[in-house]
């Protein structure tokens, strides 16, 4: 398999080619190729254990892929990065890929505002003259911090948590923690935002709000989003493209409409009678 050719309207932001990730004898992701376009929401779906989170960890540098190439393009500047060669903190800092985690990872003992300031660490670090200027109370650092607080306030406002800015993050209810994690990721000024099951554990109303928020990120802020999600309501409603994984391989990709009617996807999710499996495989060319 190779990545499909780019289409007309949006440039590519992430190109994954022949990605394989093995853990000893276990092949979590096998020869996977796909792409994600800039300013689009690309969803990764598949049954449990399909290798979605492994793929995420490869993209964000927490795993080093066994084989394969991960190329990230900045559509505005034309800069590009080979993610498989970079340590995770440089992927976040230079390639500007931000992520959230399946099991929320906030700094629970720190306030919401502090959480968002930690996300702006590298900018603030430079502004504080790598601590030296800041230690002696330089004006330039005070201004940089004020800007950082403004930005944090903006994102807290966007996720509706500005009232609780000075509360510890660990005291928030679960849905709010998820939103805060997205706000924190946005404070790193990402080009590509990777969300690992952002709707997990949310009720219907919260999940509808999340849909609106993610669309706004795409349309107003021009963010490209890579999304893992089990909630098909969310996926089908907001995704521009969907990539379906099963047992570490891509079994389908396309618009929500294409994927919804794809027999292999239906088979992977629902299971089918044996003759239908044979038929579906014949159709898919196996």
């Amino acid at each position: 398999m190779s990545a499909a050719e780019p289409q007309t309207f949006q440039p590519l932001v992430l190109t994954v080619e022949h990605l394989t990730m093995r853990f000893g004898g276990l092949v979590a992701v096998s020869d996977l190729s796909f792409f994600a376009r800039a300013r689009e929401i690309t969803a990764l779906i598949g049954p449990n254990g399909a290798g979605k989170t492994t793929l995420f960890n490869c993209v964000t540098g927490f795993y080093k892929p066994t084989i394969g190439m991960l190329k990230l393009d900045h559509p505005d500047t034309g800069a590009w990065y080979l993610l498989e060669r970079m340590p995770e903190f440089r992927i976040a800092r230079e390639a500007r890929v931000a992520r959230t985690f399946q099991n929320v990872r906030l700094f629970a003992g720190m306030t919401l505002l502090e959480n968002l300031l930690v996300a702006q660490h590298n900018a603030l670090m430079a502004a504080s003259g790598y601590t030296m200027l800041g230690l002696f109370g330089a004006r330039s650092y005070a201004r940089a911090q004020a800007r950082a607080v403004d930005k944090a306030r903006y994102w807290l406002d966007r996720v509706g948590l500005v009232e609780r800015a000075d509360d510890p993050a660990g005291a928030l209810p679960y849905g709010a923690q998820r939103r805060l994690e997205i706000a924190r990721a946005m404070c790193t000024d990402p080009v590509l935002l990777c969300l690992d099951e952002p709707a997990a554990g949310l009720n219907n109303r919260e999940s509808a709000e999340l849909n609106i928020f993610l669309r706004a990120l795409r349309d107003e802020h021009g963010i490209s989003i890579l999304l893992i999600e089990h909630d098909m309501g969310v996926v089908m409603e907001i995704s521009d493209r969907i990539v379906v994984l099963d047992y570490g391989e891509k079994i389908a990709e396309g618009t929500p409409g294409d994927v919804r009617n794809n027999p292999r996807v239906i088979a992977a999710y629902l299971g089918v009678a044996d003759e239908e499996v044979a038929q579906a495989e014949a159709e898919a060319g196996l």
Binding site: F89, F101, R105, M110, V118, G170, A171, A185
Partner: protein
């Protein structure tokens, strides 16, 4: 142990008695040989076997009674001393905390004036402030960055030996040697930091413990440089901007037209270490509000999230080790100049454990708590000196009690490094309550 939340439950006497009996049995097994049986040297020089069953019975009975009472009245597993304090008092207390720090500082500044005639108390004051400073330094590593360091004494030793060797061999003054000692200790901190970058928790503690011992063994065996077990005698004493504290014409006392008194030097040393401790405190408080300090705290909370946000955890950890080590080095240099003699015996694991105990008891991350814990622990040691070996027993028990009931230390709150609104707008009680809910 079953957890019961409703307050009006009937007393379950048989269960309490059963629990107490089990505890008493364990106590009997433990203390039976430790206390019940004793060997002494008899008149002929042979060992004589004596029994102390009376003492044993008292201890077992005490354990039984204590467990019984605890089972009857403190059944609630979430019992904590802080809950006995009404919320209104807590609010008032946290308002007082700001004044407490100021009062503490004012007292510390006045100590040499109040106790001018009492050499013993002045020396104790110097000791307390030295350990406060060590506590502040270790607090950066343990309290802020969350890296459990059991070998902190290594940096104290590096600072002390650096000062002693540089001052003796190159004749440089204390004020030039002090930053050098700090820098060398910071390098030792980075040296330790590299191999332990990937370690956390218990594993980190073991390696740092080993590092502390390695430094001590190097000092002990590198005879040519360090004098081995004989140590380094005759370390130059500090001078007051070039004026030595002696009875000569050019001494401090003669220059200022005072009668010579050896107390001058002690008072001077006290103010030097107080200034160093305050510097450490100032830098720590400042760093907390800078991105590096926030990154340390974030590292303590969740290292993986830090990496996902583009924080280079390697350099962040190394700066924490280097910073903590540097202040340990300063304290070491001060120790060397105060004592005038250093040997590896001063830098055993006990010192590390004492400083760590101060940090943990004081409340990790709290400056006031560390200062209070240093004063209570070292002051307590001296206060109960006449109780001899029993004081260790008392301190052990006190520590167990604090760890059970105040696991985050005496001052368990954490002041946010930045807030959106004026700090006074947030009721302290709400903040505190919310904070105790978060996992420690």
């Amino acid at each position: 142990m079953p957890r019961e939340s409703e307050p009006d439950r009937p007393l379950d006497l048989p269960a309490a008695a059963k629990e107490a009996a089990i505890a008493a049995l364990v106590a009997l097994g433990l203390f039976g040989l430790l206390i019940g049986i004793r060997t002494d040297q008899g008149p002929t020089g042979a060992l004589v076997f004596t029994t102390r069953f009376g003492a044993l019975a008292v201890i077992v009975a005490a354990v039984f009674a204590a467990t019984m009472l605890r089972a009857m009245f403190w059944r609630d597993a979430a019992f904590s001393v802080s809950r006995l304090v009404p919320a209104s008092v807590k609010t008032a207390a946290s308002g007082l905390a700001a004044y407490a720090a100021a009062a503490f500082l004012a007292f510390a500044l006045l100590v040499p004036i109040i106790f001018y005639g009492n050499r013993y108390l002045l020396d104790l004051g110097i000791l307390i402030v030295t350990y406060t400073m060590l506590g502040f330094g270790l607090n950066i590593v343990v309290g802020l960055a969350g890296l459990l360091d059991l070998g902190y004494v290594a940096f104290y030793a590096v600072g002390a030996y650096s000062y002693a060797l540089i001052a003796q061999n190159f004749g440089l003054s204390f004020w030039i040697c002090l930053p050098l000692a700090g820098i060398l200790a910071a390098f030792a901190g980075i040296l330790l930091g590299f191999p332990v970058l990937r370690l956390r928790g218990d594993y980190l503690a073991i390696v740092t413990l080993g590092f502390g011992e390695i430094i001590r063994l190097i000092l002990l065996n590198w005879q040519k440089l360090t004098g081995g077990p004989n140590g380094i005698p005759g370390i130059p004493r500090p001078s007051f901007f070039g004026l030595p504290f002696n009875n000569s014409e050019h001494g401090f006392a003669a220059t200022f037209g005072l009668h010579y008194s050896p107390t001058h030097r002690v008072v001077f040393l006290y103010y030097v270490i107080l200034a160093l401790a305050l510097l450490t405190n100032w830098v720590t408080l400042r760093l907390r509000r800078l991105p590096i300090g926030r990154a340390w705290e974030a590292l303590r909370e969740d290292e993986i999230a830090c990496r996902a946000l583009g924080i280079n955890t390697t350099t962040t950890k190394l700066t924490a080790f280097a910073m903590g080590a540097m202040f340990g080095g300063f304290a070491g240099a001060f120790f060397a100049t105060r004592q005038g003699f250093i040997s590896p015996e001063s830098f055993t694991f006990t010192e590390s454990a004492l400083v760590l105990a101060i940090v943990v008891l004081g409340g990790m991350g709290s400056q006031l708590g560390v200062a209070a814990a240093a004063a209570v622990m070292l002051g307590g040691f001296e206060l109960f000196r006449e109780f001899d070996q029993y004081r260790m027993l008392v301190f052990g028990a006190a520590m167990v009690a604090i760890v059970i009931h105040q696991p985050r230390g005496l001052v368990a709150t954490r002041a946010p490094s930045v807030s959106l609104r004026d700090h006074t707008d947030i009721p302290a009680a709400t903040v505190r309550d919310a904070r105790t809910e978060s996992p420690g």
